[in-house]
C-alpha cells in the first residue's frame, strides 16, 4: 500500500504546478487548465485520505471526489463561456490585456 505521504506530496506538487500556471501564464485557457489541476490536487487529497482513515477507510471521501469532478466539469463550462464572452467584447483572452476588475 502506498504511504499516504507520497500521495500528499503528489497532491502538493500538482497544487503548486496549478498555482504557478495561474500566476504566470497570460492565456485565459491555460489559467483555466491550471485551475483544473489545482482542483484535481484537492480531489486527490480526498481519495488519499478516504483510503487512509483508520481502521479501514471511509467511502465518503471517494463519493465527495466524484461530486467534485462533476462540479469541476460545470465550472469548466462556465469558465469557457465567460472567455467566449470576453473574446467577443475585447477581441482577446490574454489576461494582461483585460482590466475589468477595477472601479
Amino acid at each position: 500500500m502506498i504511504p499516504v505521504e507520497y500521495e500528499l506530496i503528489l497532491s502538493l506538487a500538482l497544487f503548486c504546478i496549478g498555482l504557478y500556471g495561474i500566476l504566470v501564464r497570460k492565456n485565459a485557457i491555460i489559467v483555466l487548465m491550471s485551475i483544473e489541476i489545482i482542483l484535481n490536487a484537492a480531489i486527490l487529497n480526498f481519495v488519499a485520505f478516504s483510503s487512509y482513515i483508520p481502521p479501514s477507510g471511509d467511502p465518503a471521501g471517494q463519493v465527495f471526489a466524484l461530486l467534485a469532478i462533476a462540479l469541476a466539469a460545470g465550472e469548466a463550462a462556465v469558465g469557457l463561456a465567460i472567455f467566449l464572452a470576453l473574446f467577443e467584447t475585447h477581441g482577446t483572452v490574454e489576461l494582461d490585456k483585460i482590466r475589468l476588475l477595477r472601479w
Binding site: L23, D96, L101
Partner: protein
Amino acid sequence: MLENAWLAWLILGSPLIAFVLVGVVGRRLPEGGAYVVVGSFATSLVIALYFLAQVLLQGAVGGTTSFSIPGFTWIPGNPATVTEEGKIEIRLLIDNLSAFMLVLVSFLSLLIAVFSIGYMHEEEGKPRYYAEIALFVAGMLGTVSADNFLQLLIFWEIMGLCSYLLIGFWYHKPEAASAAKKAFLVTRVGDVLFLAGILVIWNVFHTFRFEEIAAEIPVLWGSSFTPQLATLIPLLLFGGAVGKSAQFPLHAWLPDAMEGPTTVSALIHAATMVKAGVYLTARSFVFLVPIASGGGILVAAVPWTAILVVAIIGGFTAVFAGSMALASYDIKRVLAFSTISQLSYMFLGLGAGAYLMASEAAVGSPEVNTVGYSAALYHLMNHAFFKALLFLAAGSVIHAVHTNDMREMGGLGAHMPWTSRTMLMGALALSGIIPFSGFFSKDDILAVTFETGAANPLFYLLWLAGIATAFMTAFYTFRMWLMTFHGEYRGHGHPHESPLVMTSVLLVLSAFTLASGFIAFVTNGFGNFVFYEEPHAALPLVTPLLSGNVVELGLTGLSLALAFAGLGLAWVVYARKSIPASTFTRTPTRAFLHSMLLHRYWIDDAYNAFGSRAVAGFGRATDRFDRNVVDGIVNALGRGTVVTAALADRFDRKVIDGAVNSISLETIRSSLALRTRQTGQVQNYTWVIVVGIAVILALAFILGFLPRTLGRP
C-alpha cells in the same frame, strides 16, 4: 376757637384760582387779567385781616392763639398707633406769626399788582406776567400758612419756580435768562440743605408738624434728639434760609435778579421770596431756643453754635452787602444790596435774640425775653413797606427814563414830584432816620445785639458791624436818591410823572412807611403780633427808647448820628459837590477798593471761575480718568479678548482643523498610493491572495504550530 376756619383756604386759594383763570383765558381779559389778580389778592387780604383780628382778639385774653385748620390726609399713618404715626396731612396753621405774615404778604402783593397795571401797561405777555405773579403770591401765602415742614417746602419750591419764571420774564434778553437760571441754581443750594434738614427732622421726630415737633423736643431730648442733631437741624434749616434770603455766601443771585421787571423785584424783595428765609428761621426758632415741656426754656438743648452762626452770618452779610451798594450805579442794584443788608439785620436780630433769650434762661431768669425775635419780625414788616415803596418808586423812575443807570438820571425831582417825594420817605426809612419805621426796628435790633454783648463779647463786634452798616446804608441810599432826583438831567428824552395808578400806590406805601413804625407803641408793643412761646404782657418792644436807660439812649443817639453822618456825606458829595466823587478813586488804594466793590468782591467772578475752572477741571479730570483708566481697562480687556481669540483661532486652525485635515489628507494620499495597486488584472489580485495566504500560514506556523511543537518535552 377760630370762626369760619375754612375761609383760610381761600387766602391761598384765591390767587391760585386767579393763576389758573389768567393762565388759561388771560388773553381775553382786560389788561391781561390784571383786575382778576388784583381782585384775588384783595380777597386774600380781607380774609387774612379777618383771621388776624380773630387771632389778636383771642390772644389778648390769654388763650392759645395757634390754630391748625384741617385739610386732608395726604399720606395715612400707622393706624395701630394712637397718633397715627407717620401721617402726613395738608393743613393750615393760623397763629400770630402766620396771620401777620398773611396780612403783610397779601397787602403788599395787592399794592404791587395795582402798580403793575400802570407799569406793565405797554408790555407784551401780560397774561403770563399776571398768572405767574398770582402763583408766586399763592406760593408765599402757602409758605407762611403751612402747618408742617413738608408743606412749607412745597410752597417754598413753588416760589422758587415762580422767581425763576419772573426774573426771566424778558427771556429773550440773555442777561435775564442767565439771571433767572442763577437765581434758581443758587437758591437750590440752600434748598438742598433745607431738604436735608427736613429729612433729619423726620428721622428724629417722625412728624413734620411744627406743633408736634415743638412738643416732642423736650420728650426726645437726650434719647433720639442728641446735642449733635440739636446743632445740625437748625444749621441745615438756616442753610435753606441763607439761600432764599440771599445771605453770604449764597447772596450772588439777588443783585442779578434785577433783570426782571421792577414790580417783580419789589415783590421778591418786599413781600415774598427773600422774606421766606426769615420766616423759616422764625418758624423754626424752637430749634434755636427749645421750649421745655412745662414752659420756660430747655437750656441744655440750646445749640449755641448754631445761634452764633445765624448771628455772625447776619452781621457779616450786613456790612458785606452794604459796602457793595456804595459803588453800584444801577438804581435797582443799590436797592438789591440794601435788601440783602437789611435781611441780615433780621438774621442778626433773630440770632442775638435767641442768644439773649437762652443766656438769660441759663442764668435762671424766669422771664422769656422775646425782644430780639420780635425786633427781627418788626424789621421784616417795616422793611417790607419801605422796600416795596423804594422799588416801586425806582420802577416809576425807570418807567420814565427807560434806564437803570443812575449816571443817566439826575434832576428828575422837577419832572416827577410825587415819585421823588415818596421815594425820599422810603430812603429816610431805609436810612433809619427818626421817625420813619426803619429807625425803630433797626434800633431795636442793634440794642438787642448790644445787650447780648454782655453774654458773649462777640456780639459787641456784630453790633459794630450793624452800626457801620447803618452809616453805609444812609450814605448809599442818599447817594442813590440824589443821583436820581437832584442836579441836572443827564439822560435823553423828556421824563414825565407816572400815571395815577402808580403814584397812588406810592402814596399809600409812604403812609405805611411812616405809620408802621408806631405800631411798636400800641398796647404792649409789636411782641403782641409775633410773640414766641406764650403771650407776654411785659417787655414792650420799644424798651430802649422808653426805658430811659442812659447807655441805650446813647447807643440810639450814636446810630442816629451815624445815619445822619452818612446822609450828610452823600449830600456833600452828590448834591453840593464840595467833595468831588472822584475823591473816592483818586489814589491807587482807593481805586482798588472801588473796583473791588464794583466787582462785588469778585465773588461772582470766583463762582464763575469755580464753575468754569473747578467744575470744568473736575470734568476734565474725570474725562481723563475715563479715557485713561476706564477706557484703558476696557481696551485692555478688549485686547486681551482679541489675543485669546487669536490663540483660540490658531489652536482651532492648527490643531483641530489640522487633525481633521491631516486625517482626510492622509486618507486621500494613501488612497492615491493604494489606487495604483488596483490594476484590474486578475493575476495581480491572485498574487496578493497567494502571498497573503502564505504569510498567514507562515505566521500560524511560527506563532501556533512551532511553539507547541517546540514546547513539547
